[in-house]
Subunit: 336 residues, 4 copies
């Protein structure tokens, strides 16, 4: 339940307000140079407090790599253990909340599942867990076979507004002013994957990507290629006609989103993930306590007006873990 | 890759035009009465050739249960092996196709993956594999703990038309006349699940459902609760306010679709799966052969104008396998 | 629990007196010619009733391969499903036993575990299950990478007598005459494995072999290389000194039994498995019924005087599955 | 490969001379009070340098628990991450060795497997890894269901001498004086396990114990109950006759070692593990370098004259992990 992957496996731990986050990345081949700057760049991208649109919680999030590497940062083929200390523990912020069920949070369901209201800011349900994933993904991205594969996610819609960064930022700012939050859609394009990566039946590449993306906090939907719009189309509209150039077979269009029958076809893999608005609001909201008594939850604390913004590097990291796992499973490690 | 589930595991085999389909359902507790009629009812629902809207391939699809049961059909707690003979092998139909890459099929990607063009009608990529899933699901549904859980899927949209069965049927018939196919959306409601079922982090209930649904042939998208529309909404619109009645806490609305933080909250679980139009068309279509030469693929053979129609019992079966696995994993076997 | 292996996985089903035994071998690469005669030869080796020293139960044990192969018996890379019908069901033989706990059998422990006294001759606890393993192993042995690897098991001791086949046979015959049974030791030598196969930590090659061998019915002990006698030795006696010839490094002695640190060193892998005497005796024996009442269990039914004899092909089959899994996991499929 | 267990899983990392050892114990239920003193007691037991019979390497080995616990040391049901800093890194000791293949060490096989001669004192092959296992086991032992289960391992033989602690110590001291090492046998008794724990087929309790024990450094053999001596016995000698007292059914003898058909029968579980002499000697020894040139390896560095001595708490820890995993898998968490 805390392990992701098959031949490249990330196992994680850490409560958001406990001592540390951390994980073990098992399955990285030996002999690979790891660049710490790439890890730091990725963790910085997901860090809260970077600008006024994301929460003010300011943690350093500097991972310490404890094993699996020589002093020169060459992988040994052994598991890479890492930790990130939680330096900014403000559990007091959550005092009042600890007694109430926050709407759309996991407080109520965790309580039903474990019979225990974890007081440390939501524990494993917190988006802080995704820091572990970003570290794992930033290491996985450095496999030689991943060098020519680009993974680029971006926000394409906020609160229903598709447009320029300025327009989407305006929607977020406006929501923030009202103490409200807003949803968004992240699109990810993975380019450079050769044809033939993935598996049929229960190991379909898009099913693995779906599971990975739906694991991200606040994700409500996943689609690839034409996605939901394919359900409104006819077969003749949707056919990706094969053609060839210089001996390479490819499709003229990419309705399929780069995957057919669960296996990559050499075209760019394209998928979208829908994120709901952050459930934490800076407004008072009605709820109940554990005994079912009606209560008012005061809006306060740190707050992301649009989690979709912070999900962008997480979508990329989880993509990297899935793709790297598939490549390793098919014994592709060297540069493609 | 051919195994689904954790503590209730379905492992399957069978090429669509080979000798038999089959599987092993491992993890069913002992002492449970299995009703063969329920299995036959479910396999009948997914069988092609039931009416003029689905393909004419007429197979009996009568599973033979080979183990795991007493003569009185009581489970022994041992794995249940089953097979279904393929009685209607018409591999000749696929002679021409075997040399060409059918658009949107897995021919090309399988060839890239395995270096082998499986001549038996697509082999494991065929939707016939879902027969195994329906059998597995039909057994899983008979767990006592599943008795009060209803799993109901239905088509809610065909070719973009949401409406009555008559209206949607008209869209399919019209597509069929033109030798075309059409996409559709299946919605599934799982009711009766108690709060507290599922897991955090990488074992989220909706992520497992997503993986299960995206494993179904032709699935292009998955969403639960408000799904993609949540990305256009504000937090204040989307909050599921907790309230209580007679000591039972529940939410006034169900934007969350019955799952929060990966764990059920006691409300109905609602999700939707988008299916693309069948790639097999009864029309000539442009493509290439394995050497990249431009060719025309003749439209012929058996053909489902709308795979979404046949996906309905498969969506239910995969839901049953996921839910039963979760309940068994949480040691819930007896009636809830 | 009914699946063995990691990248080459055998999942099995079948009660000894149910309709059929069977399994699914998942992970065999495509393009490999399978010789049915090798499978039949191996199943014949383990079949009871071959000579007067093993039980008279005479079943044909002809497996039917249902998937994963072309008509020309070339693997497709898809799972290979197989079944073997149980033609010789004599459950009546076990009528009396069904009410009593047979000493050293699994009757009592199954009852404690599952609360159910499986009446079909012991169900999954029966050695008949090993037929599935022999079929799986006989297929695995046909991987090109296995061609130059010899796996040879033989009885080296019966009832404490180490000697020629005649001497050991005499011990078995003498036990049989008395309605008694006798234990034995099987030694297996795997030759031709290149250095570098296996894993450290929890995936050690000898630990996997140990688990595989201890899964065989009646196995009581496993040792490799010097085994238990190493515990009586000094380091200076036990050191396998490295030397080289024509550039190939090897050890002068093989105290290590071909494995160091869980990884093969290129020397023959040698291990031994101790089997206890068959618990079924042709003599009356004291026991209790399910209520704890003292009873006499009449000696009758079919009976193997020395299960170690029949374990020989099973030891080889399980070795083949372990080695093939390791080679596939290290992406070694072609001839070495 | 670095994960052990099914529903209680220990994943570990750490090279013996790297920055830290550590692991994640996933699957511990919530609400359990953890006593740090028990963890420290167990790590102290396995620590080198306790007396003159074990190596002088003196590390503190104080684990830091980073997650999964409240401040009051109550488990949260979330994964427990832990690390132990390596404070005594003397990699210089291994300078000469790094160029030579030490006999009976994993140097050569790791080189063949990974193409990389890990310079940090053997890396993952080092017995220091078992520190992680002892920590995991010390936590697992604190499950309420484990409270009345005693797990006691002890040395029963050193260099072939079975006797009192004094006699066995004399053998070790004598070997140490000569710069030699000596093997030994550890026997473990697990008492208090109820009948019905374990699984048939591939999940047999003794097969899991065998795999666990054979994972320990220097283990060469495993046997349970009568073990190898059962191979010299007749069925009539070996039968564990059932009897009953006050309604509880048990066996008069315990040849079976507490397990029948892979499932516990309520009698004490008894097994033995054979350990070879430490391969590191304080004497010069012949070997080759990586190019196959004949060389002399100087005896120096730290050195355990009898690893079996230090294996005792490791045998207990691995037993605790196996038993706790089985109990959790059968949903037994509370006191038995």
């Amino acid at each position: 339940m805390n392990t992701f992957g098959r031949n490249l496996r990330l196992t994680t731990f850490g409560e958001s307000h406990g001592k540390a986050m951390g994980g073990i990345l098992d399955g990285m081949p030996g002999g690979i140079k790891i660049d710490m700057d790439i890890i730091l760049r990725e963790t910085a991208r997901r860090r809260p407090g970077q600008n006024h649109l994301v929460t003010a919680r300011n943690e350093k999030d500097i991972p310490e790599l404890l094993s699996g590497l020589t002093d020169d940062m060459i992988t040994l083929g052994t598991p890479i253990g890492f930790i990130v200390r939680n330096t900014d523990q403000r559990s007091g912020d959550y005092g009042e909340m600890a007694k109430l069920y926050r709407p759309n949070h996991a407080d109520f369901t965790y309580d039903m599942r474990y019979g225990l209201h974890e007081a440390r800011g939501g524990g494993r349900a917190s988006a802080r867990e995704t820091l572990n994933w970003v570290i794992g993904g930033a290491i996985a991205r450095q496999l030689p076979c991943m060098k020519d594969i680009s993974i680029n996610a971006k926000i394409i819609s906020v609160g229903g507004v598709e447009g320029t960064t300025e327009e989407m930022s305006a929607v977020v700012e406006e929501a923030m002013k009202r103490g409200d939050s807003v949803g968004g859609i992240v699109e990810c394009v993975i380019d450079g994957i050769p044809a033939g990566i993935g598996n049929p039946v229960f190991g379909k590449l898009h099913a693995r990507l779906a599971q990975a993306m739906m694991s991200i906090n606040a994700a409500k939907g996943f689609e690839y290629g034409d996605g939901f719009s394919a359900a409104s189309m006819y077969g003749t509209q949707q056919a990706d006609i094969f053609t060839s150039k210089d001996g390479r077979i490819y499709t003229k269009t990419n309705h399929s989103g780069g995957i057919q029958g669960g296996i990559s076809n050499g075209m760019p893999i394209i998928f979208r993930v829908a994120f709901k608005p952050t459930p934490t609001l800076l407004r008072d909201i009605e709820t109940t306590d554990k005994d079912g008594n009606s209560r008012i939850l005061k809006g306060k604390g740190r707050h992301d007006p649009c989690v979709a913004l912070r999900a962008v590097p997480v979508v990329e990291a989880m993509s990297a873990l899935v793709i790297a796992d598939e490549l390793i499973s098919q014994n592709i490690v060297s540069e493609i």
